[in-house]
């Protein structure tokens, strides 16, 4: 493992203060960036090959370059609505190293030509928002935020905005609506935020980790950063490991590290005597992988190739003590609860899926219901307004595909438990009573 970039000093006491952060080289990257032109900074970002750390994995430099050029008012929004089950990396970053985010955000705004910025932080992150507010006050007092930053001519305002607790507000257009004071519902795309985002203005939206990586890229130089990781997945990544592991937590890894090394090496693997049954490589919305996938390198390409995704980098490990039905129900219920209700397949599909899964447990399902459930997932995928529907349908679909036998066994066991099993039906048939 190479040296950590984001978590290098993460446990340094007082890192959240400007004083300690500056002693560790904080805001030097900002000075360096402001001394060069925005075009040069953008070139560094593009050269770094940094891909968005929020889930979609889109090249960050390219995203910046999509913004229209010129003096038109542009916005930069940091998506800190970290709500994907299993994901808690941004929380630690913001709590312990808020200035790294603010510094990255200022540099990105310089490259993008944005003069107004926002950090949209999920409402439950009360402490982290307080930390950010304090850091923002320090950064403003030090002249890093405001008019004519460090004499560069670049000006930037920054507002920390607390959400009200909706997963959908982490979807970028839902986030924008919420930030504008509306009900947080996703918007139709196009127009994309780069053209018409916040208040109809061009808007760049980036995840906390993405922005927090920017100072390191500027410090090292884009090409140097690109040496880390693999051909298509550059750099380091924060991974939140949770579930059935002995040492859950956030780890910074170089992309391409074997998954087994993360789950077993860093996180200690499942408790003694248990086996990995399946694992979510990128949060609860990623299709599950099985034990045989543990030797895959942990990067964007390999995860996609295995039929899943790296997502937000949240590995959730499920061991063999847990029925797959419980996992499916937990996931489906989450997305049913968080569906905004705007588009039909997501709203109705998530509700229906939960009802079907509950019937399995109640013992009133038949194997035919598995077919229906699988087809419902297929009908959701790709047909929704945003990706929330897919976020349920993909993992549920993968569980049905990979653990079909277990679902069938569960159905049969539950039917017998409820007196509806094949054996229980025989007396009724014998007497000719049907229906």
């Amino acid at each position: 493992m190479t040296e950590a970039l984001l978590f290098k000093d993460i446990d340094e006491p007082g890192l959240a203060t400007l004083d300690v952060y500056a002693k560790r080289g904080g805001y030097e990257s900002l000075r360096k960036a402001l001394a060069s032109t925005p075009e040069d900074v953008l070139a560094q970002l593009e050269a770094s090959g940094l891909r968005g750390r929020g889930g979609a994995g889109f090249a960050m430099g390219k995203k910046v370059s999509f913004l229209p050029k010129g003096t038109i008012d542009k916005y930069l929004v940091c998506n800190a609505d970290e709500s994907e089950p299993g994901t808690f990396k941004d929380r630690e970053l913001m709590q312990k190293s808020p200035h790294m985010l603010i510094e990255g955000l200022i540099i990105a705004s310089y490259a993008a030509g944005a003069s107004r910025s926002f950090i949209y932080i999920r409402g439950e992150y009360v402490h982290q928002a307080d930390v950010l507010d304090a850091a923002l006050a320090e950064a403003t007092a030090a002249g890093y935020i405001g008019e004519n930053i460090l004499g560069s001519g670049h000006s930037l305002s920054l507002v920390v905005h607390r959400g009200a607790g909706a997963y959908i507000c982490g979807e970028e257009t839902g986030l924008l609506d919420s930030l504008e004071g509306k009900r947080g519902n996703p918007r139709l795309k196009p127009p994309f935020p780069a053209n018409q985002g916040l208040y109809q203005g061009p808007t760049l939206i980036n995840n906390v980790e993405t922005l927090a990586t920017v100072p390191a890229i500027i410090r090292m130089g884009g090409e140097k950063y690109a040496e880390l990781g693999t051909e298509t997945s550059k750099g380091t990544k924060l991974v939140s490991v949770s579930g059935h592991v002995q040492r859950p937590g956030n780890y910074e890894i170089e992309l391409g590290t074997p998954s087994r090394e993360i789950i077993y090496g860093l996180a200690g693997g499942p408790p003694e005597g248990r086996e990995v049954k399946c694992w979510f490589p990128g949060g609860s919305s990623s299709p599950v992988l099985k034990q045989e996938d543990l030797d895959l390198p942990y990067d964007f390409e390999a995860m996609a190739k295995a039929g899943s995704m790296l997502g937000s980098g949240a590995i959730i490990v499920v061991d063999d003590s847990t029925p797959i039905l419980d996992v499916a129900l937990k996931v489906a219920k989450f997305y049913r609860h968080e569906s905004c209700g705007k588009c039909t397949p997501c709203r109705e599909g998530t509700t229906w899926t939960v009802k079907m899964l509950e019937r399995i447990d109640a013992g009133t399902a038949t194997p035919m219901d598995i077919e229906i459930m699988a087809s419902v997932q297929e009908h959701i995928i790709g047909n929704c307004l945003c990706v929330l529907g897919d976020a349920m349908a993909m993992p549920i679909g993968s569980m049905i595909a990979k653990f079909r036998d277990e679902f069938e066994e569960h159905i049969e066991a539950a039917r017998i438990r409820n007196g509806l099993g094949a054996g229980a039906l025989e007396p009724a048939l014998a007497t000719g009573v049907t229906g």
Partner: protein, 669 residues
């Protein structure tokens, strides 16, 4: 402001090459190729598409995911497939999803038989259900307002009503509460949805979730017939479709005329119909021993003729705003030719000098309704649209919201004392390149009715001159008359100083106010009221007192009336039952000059007869044959008498109306 213009492109849909305007949304462009793409949430009148229902998913070559046809602008060379297996599965699945929580109570649902969800389920649905779980439940139906019931179980959450409230009516009352499948439509504060245009959501709803409480359970679509007409309850004259069952109007729907109402109706127009059928006068009445008693038509007509002949030139007539052009025209003939009396007026508060009437009605100065939407600026001068011409209020909102039109409100004092400021404010909105600004002045008739009426009219003409309105396309004046057919009655000659087509008259008659004064002084003896009630229609308290004296002092009051109001009950000597607009035939004139046609949807109640017929019968008994045996003959006489209507026929007016100034250019070119 430049109106949208699009070049024509060619795209392919289901193997057919189709021409369409570039950037038209695919669901609309598909229709040009006779392809229907099903939709629920798409409704262009509500603004930008939202892509929420996902019903319109189609396959576009070169794009991996299915796209929503409602939000995809069509481009040259685009290849669209709506019939592939993938699209079929997507459409079936959306219908299946929509039916997951939609109760199948079609047999008792008002929407059944005219329901887009039924139609689309039939056309694009999977044909069977796989959903065996329990559907969601709400208490139902609830009163969303006094007029609208909401059934939240039937709601498919298409967002139409909410978007309407937020983006068209701008009353901001309707919202979606809760999330996911628990979402439901409600007012933000839980209070009833009270707004002047609330009823439009009933028509917008693609299922039976929002229903009219008046219409609820009154008919099924196969029990009724639709009849197109024009609402004359205010000057906006919206085009309506009347739902009729057993000679009763059960419902009023919009008939969508882009140059009149844009497809919306106000709540008065939509919900007032029950009151048009109740407590009506259904027989001719004559005052006998101080009481009004029903009599035969013969007796009522004879008595009216006798009294009119006796009064002769000492007769005055008032025409109410609900009268058709034909009625006003024929009454003018009765007065001027039959009785030799010039005293007829349709303006409650008095008339203007003829030259001002003519100048204000100059064809080159007249704006049309859509100009309000696309103008750079609109000056609203002494008009209060919601009571006066409600639906134009929505048009102004649309102009401001969608096209950045600048709305300036001003009063009579602003016009008389600070015209330069007004001009400056309006011109500011014009294009930056110095080209002339398109400005519409929307003015209420009351601007020209006070003591300063003539001065105000002149100031208005001066303002139009300064703004260069006559020389600018899409600019103009648009008057909101105080009465719904105010413009038509003037053109038909129901003015003391003008004959049909604002022609000069030999002798000026008394205007409304002067008629009242002459009656109270005994200089006139007979008053003929055609759908006019001078007490309820009085401009102010003084006017009301004056008319009180006039009515009390008149020897004879003859009235065409629908209801026994105080004025009629106490003062009328002869009453003819009058028709409500769903019973009438004839023409009216929209404020922008458009001649529109009323067509009877239901029979007249009791022994009522058409007004044109009654006037003709009375006139014959006075000794003048008007030569009017049918409503069509009355219209023809009017068209022959008014120069700008020359050559017009009822067929040409048809369902959409005709603006004489546009007709002139159409004939010339």
């Amino acid at each position: 402001m430049p109106r949208p213009e699009a070049k024509t492109i060619t795209f392919t849909i289901d193997g057919r090459e189709v021409q369409a305007p570039e950037n038209m949304m695919l669901v609309d462009a598909a229709k040009l190729g006779d392809v229907e793409i099903p939709v629920f949430c798409y409704e262009p009148k509500l603004g930008n598409p939202v892509g929420a229902c996902r019903m319109c998913l189609v396959e576009i070559e070169g794009i991996p995911k299915l796209q929503t046809g409602c939000s995809t602008p069509v481009k040259d060379g685009m290849v669209v497939n709506t019939q592939s297996e993938r699209v079929k599965i997507a459409q079936e699945s959306v219908v299946e999803f929509l039916l997951v929580n939609h109760p199948l109570d079609c047999p008792v649902c008002d929407k059944g038989g005219e329901c887009p969800l039924q139609d689309i389920t039939f056309g694009w649905g999977p044909g069977k259900t796989r959903f065996v779980e329990e559907k969601r439940h709400f208490v139902k139906p609830l009163a969303l307002s006094e007029k609208i019931a909401i059934d939240r179980e039937r709601c498919i959450l298409c967002y139409r009503c909410v978007r309407y409230s937020q983006e068209v009516a701008e009353d901001y009352q309707l919202v979606l509460l809760e999330r996911g499948a628990h979402s439901y439509v409600s007012t933000f504060d839980g209070n009833p949805y009270e707004a002047p245009f609330s009823g439009n959501i009933v028509e917008l709803c693609p299922v039976g979730a929002l229903t009219s409480r008046d219409y609820r359970f009154r008919a099924r679509p196969w029990d009724v017939e639709d009849s197109g007409s024009v609402c004359t309850l205010c000057a906006a004259q919206c085009n309506v479709s009347l739902t009729v069952r057993d000679e009763r109007v059960l419902r009023v729907l919009a008939r969508d005329h882009a140059e009149v109402d844009d497809g919306w109706l106000c709540d008065r127009g939509r919900f007032a119909y029950p009151s048009l059928g109740e407590d009506r006068i259904t027989h001719p009445l004559i005052r006998d021993g101080g009481e009004l008693r029903a009599v035969s038509w013969e007796r009522a007509l004879d008595e009216a003729a006798t009294r009119l002949k006796r009064a002769g030139a000492q007769t005055g007539a008032l025409v109410g705003g609900g009268a058709t052009n034909e009625e006003g025209f024929l009454l003018g003939r009765l007065l001027r030719e039959g009785l030799d009396s010039p005293n007829i007026d349709s303006r409650v508060a008095g008339t203007l000098p003829l030259e001002l009437h003519r100048a204000l009605g100059e064809p080159g100065l007249q704006a049309k309704v859509s100009d309000l939407e696309f103008a750079h600026a609109v000056l609203a001068l002494e008009c209060d649209l919601v009571p006066d011409a409600a639906i134009l209020d929505l048009r102004l909102r649309k102009g401001v919201r969608r096209h950045g039109m600048k709305l300036v409100r001003a009063s009579l004092a602003d016009l008389l004392e600070r015209p330069a400021e007004l001009v400056a404010k309006l011109k500011e909105a014009g294009p930056a390149d110095g080209a002339s600004a398109e400005i519409v002045v929307l003015w209420g008739e009351r601007l020209t009715t006070g003591p300063d009426g003539a001065r105000a009219a002149q100031a208005l003409l001066d303002l139009a001159g300064t703004l260069g309105i006559a020389d600018t396309d899409n600019a103009g004046l648009l008057e909101i008359p105080a009465q719904s057919n105010g413009r038509g009655l003037r053109e038909a000659g129901a003015l003391p100083n003008a004959g049909p087509g604002l022609s000069s008259v030999d002798e000026d008659g008394l205007d409304a106010r002067a008629i009242a004064q002459a009656l109270s002084k005994g200089e006139l003896s007979c008053l003929y009221l055609l759908g006019a009630d001078p007490l309820t229609g009085a401009a102010d308290e003084l006017d009301r007192e004056l008319w009180g004296r006039a009515l009390a002092n008149a020897t004879t009051v003859i009235s065409h009336a629908m209801f026994l109001t105080d004025a009629i009950r106490e003062h009328a000597d002869i009453v003819f039952p009058a028709g409500a607009y769903p019973e009438k035939e004839g023409t009216v004139v929209h404020p922008d000059g458009r001649i529109q046609r009323l067509r009877p949807a239901v029979a007249k109640p009791g022994e009522s007869r058409a007004e044109w017929q009654v006037i003709a019968d009375v006139t014959a008994r006075v000794g003048l044959d008007l030569d009017v045996l049918t409503g069509g003959m009355a219209s023809q006489q009017l068209f022959d008498a008014v120069p700008q209507y020359s050559g017009l026929t009822l067929e040409e007016i048809g369902g959409k109306g005709v603006r004489p100034q546009e007709r002139a250019t159409a004939v010339a070119s």
